[in-house]
Amino acid sequence: MHSILSRINNASAFLSSCMMALLLAISLSSFILTESPTGQVAISSIKVVSSHARRYSSKKQDLAFVHFNLTADLTPLFHWNTKQLFLYLEAEYENSKGVKNEVVIWDRIVRRKEDANIKFAGKNSYMFRDISTTFKNSASANYTLKYNIMPYVGLLTYGEAGKTTEEIAFPATQSRL
C-alpha cells in the first residue's frame, strides 16, 4: 500500500469482489420482479399450398400460410435488468408419422417498454412446412405466444404470454394460393 501501484492493485482487487457481488445481486433481483403477462392469440385463417421450396427443392412440399392476430401486454416484463424480450409464436403439432414438432412461425424483438404493448395482425414470417413434406393427416396444432427475457446480467427466463383456446386443424392441400 506504500506506492500508487500497490494501492491501485489492492483497491481494484476489492472493487472486483464488490462488482461480482453487485452483479449477483442484480441478477437475483430479477427473480422477485417477475410477473406474468397477459395476451391472446387468434388464428384467422390457415391455407396449405403445395409448392417448391428451398429444402428438398426437387420435390413438391406443403407450405402452410397462417394468418393470425396477437394482442399482448408485455410491459410488466420490463424491469431494470431486462435488456430485451424475444417474442415468438410457436406452432405445436404431431404429424402423421408420430413426430412431435415445434415450429416458430413468427418472432419479434422488443427492446423498449414503450413497444411492449403488442398488437399484431399478419402472417407467418418463417416458412412453415412439415418434416415429412406434407401436412396430410397431421393432428391439429396449438399456437402459443412465448417469450424469452434476456437480462443485462444473469439467467435467461422463458414464459408463455398466450395460447389459442382450441387446437386448430390443418386444411386440405391446395395446388395454388
Binding site: 500500500m1 506504500h2 483497491a11 476489492f14 462488482m19 453487485l22 442484480i26 443485462y152
Partner: protein, 90 residues
C-alpha cells in the same frame, strides 16, 4: 531516474496506508450498496453503474495520490551511529 520514481511511486507512511485501506474498503462496500439501491429504486441499471463510476473516480482521487494527510506520521529512524565519534542528538 530517481525523481521519476518518486513521482510515480507516491509513497505514503504506514499510518496513511492503514487509513487508505480502511477508507477504500468502507467506501467500496457502501457505494456498492447505494448503487444497487439507486438502480433498484429507479428501475434503471444505468443509474447503478453511473453511480459506481462516480464513486470509483472519487475514491481514486482520495486514495491514490500521496496527499499530505496520508504522510502525517513519518517513520522516525534512529540517528546514524558513527564509530568513535560522539553521538549527536537530533
Amino acid at each position: 531516474m530517481s525523481s521519476i520514481q518518486d513521482l510515480t511511486e507516491g509513497r505514503i507512511d504506514f499510518a496513511g496506508q492503514v487509513m487508505v485501506d480502511n477508507i477504500s474498503r468502507v467506501a467500496l462496500i457502501v457505494s456498492t450498496f447505494i448503487a444497487f439501491c439507486i438502480g433498484f429504486g429507479l428501475q434503471d441499471i444505468r443509474a447503478t453503474f453511473a453511480f459506481m463510476a462516480v464513486a470509483i473516480v472519487g475514491l481514486a482521487a482520495v486514495v491514490l495520490p500521496p496527499w499530505p494527510m496520508l504522510n502525517q506520521n513519518p517513520v522516525k529512524w534512529l540517528p546514524v551511529k558513527h564509530k568513535g565519534s560522539v553521538e549527536k542528538k537530533l
